[in-house]
């Protein structure tokens, strides 16, 4: 089969053996925003035409390719959802003579106040992780631009919540007065941790953010440490807002981020276990198993 992780800015394709082993891999800066005039079939063929011509099938794709701006919208499936339930909501696209691919839907849920939340792509990573280690009850965190905290119960994704932590850090660093004092110094873990601890004190995030500046102006925080301290404030605020943070958290993501979250969670006495960051491929493989054999 061909597994495709197709996001806003990147395209990743994997050729998988019948047992799920990765036989080959293609990467490109060909996210959906780089595809003009809806030419998604051509974009896909430009990357993996040889695999398709060799008869590799099925093609299963997850990520923003299923959004309104993607190839074809795959409406969000509703939580709670198992791999089988998500697979049942996959959307097919056809092109050329007899070419076809499946798009994995995103997930949606509502919190106790009725406010909705959505994910698109992360559900596939979780499904790859569920298969291996998350058979029972588990709390999974996928840190990043939009961090996801996901509750898994008996093989189903029951609920999740998104935090804009990574994006807020990026825009404050690049565009706010806080970024003006920041340097390119190495990220200091002690400054990060002091931001995490500050987030547990009274005052609220908007006040704590100004503290990056006032501490800098009065010499309490060096310019070199201010980016790490800001990052700690934001990650710490995310953790402080979580209900009932205890026990173990499974982390799914790239290693610099999972290390930071492990350090931050330690200050809450929470143990972490880092899951395989390539879970998306296994999730796509698992979803493909539910398709009828052609």
């Amino acid at each position: 089969m061909i597994a495709v992780d197709w996001g806003t800015s990147t395209f990743r394709a994997y050729r998988l053996a019948p047992d799920g082993a990765i036989l080959d891999k293609r990467d490109a800066q060909l996210g959906i925003l780089a595809v003009k005039e809806g030419r998604f079939a051509e974009a896909l063929e430009s990357q993996v035409r040889d695999w398709l011509e060799a008869g590799e099938a099925p093609v299963v794709m997850s990520g923003m390719i299923g959004s309104r701006q993607g190839w074809k919208e795959a409406p969000y499936a509703q939580c709670p959802a198992s791999a089988r339930e998500i697979a049942a909501s996959m959307v097919e696209v056809r092109w050329g003579n007899a070419c076809s691919a499946w798009i994995v839907p995103g997930l949606r849920c509502r919190d106790a106040q009725g406010v909705p939340d959505v994910m698109r792509g992360e559900e596939t990573q979780i499904l790859g992780a569920i298969d291996d280690v998350l058979e029972h009850s588990a709390r999974v965190c996928l840190p990043g631009t939009h961090s996801k905290w996901v509750q898994v119960e008996g093989g189903r994704i029951t609920h999740f919540a998104t935090y804009m932590t990574g994006e807020v850090f990026a825009v404050l660093k690049a565009h706010s007065i806080l970024g003006r004092m920041m340097t390119d110094a190495d990220f200091d873990p002690v400054a990060f941790q002091s931001g995490v601890l500050r987030a547990r004190e009274p005052g609220g995030l908007l006040h704590h953010l100004f503290g990056v500046r006032s501490r800098g102006l009065l010499g309490d925080l060096s310019d070199d440490d201010s980016a790490a301290y800001l990052s700690g404030l934001l990650v710490g605020n995310e953790l402080a807002a979580l209900p009932r943070l205890s026990g173990r958290v499974y982390l799914l993501g790239a290693s610099p981020l999972t290390r930071l979250y492990t350090a931050a969670l330690k200050s809450y006495g929470v143990d972490t276990k880092i899951l395989d960051a390539d879970a998306a491929v296994r999730g796509l493989f698992n979803l493909a198993q539910t398709l009828p054999r052609s």
Copy 2:
């Protein structure tokens, strides 16, 4: 006397009669960032040379002109501080034959955890307001890019806290994924209020922010309403973080903002009274009264 409110991006000068009445006024886009190579004396003369030549004195200036990037740094005075105590920390600059001006220092304080906060310019506005209406105990809010919440006791500024509310709104609108869906529609007060109420629910600001997007994607929030809802989330988060919000709050600022804060505070059962937004001029006048007559 000549009262000058000299900020990062704007310059405002007032010629005042001995009783404090405004005789004349000059405005220019000549903030401290627009002054090259430290030529502050020339910049000042370019605006009010005729007043200076007529012998108008003293000249008292507040705002970022007293920052490290300004004419001369006027180190922050320490809270609690009265008008007299702030005046005693004014810094003099001299130029030309016999020209001189006074720069008002900013204020600093530390919270219960020892984290510092600073203001520069707002203290002068408060001193103008104290004189008239704030003789006793009062809580004053100056909404804006960096909102200030200030406690006044018996004519002294005893403590304050800054919230980056306005700047976070501006950078998220201009540079985050949330801004992409926003339109130039009129600001809807109902959407604003629903953001204020959302901020009181569990989840935390970073999660509530993502709700602007998820509610938009699922049709719970129109593109036209999303900027007002985001503004409500942020102002609401600021209010939710305040200790013991009750009684009356004095608002000092421009009218669209003070109207928004009045609406938001009403949902907390808090009464507001709007102070004269030109308080800075009166504050400068009050400070000038402490100077020895020449």
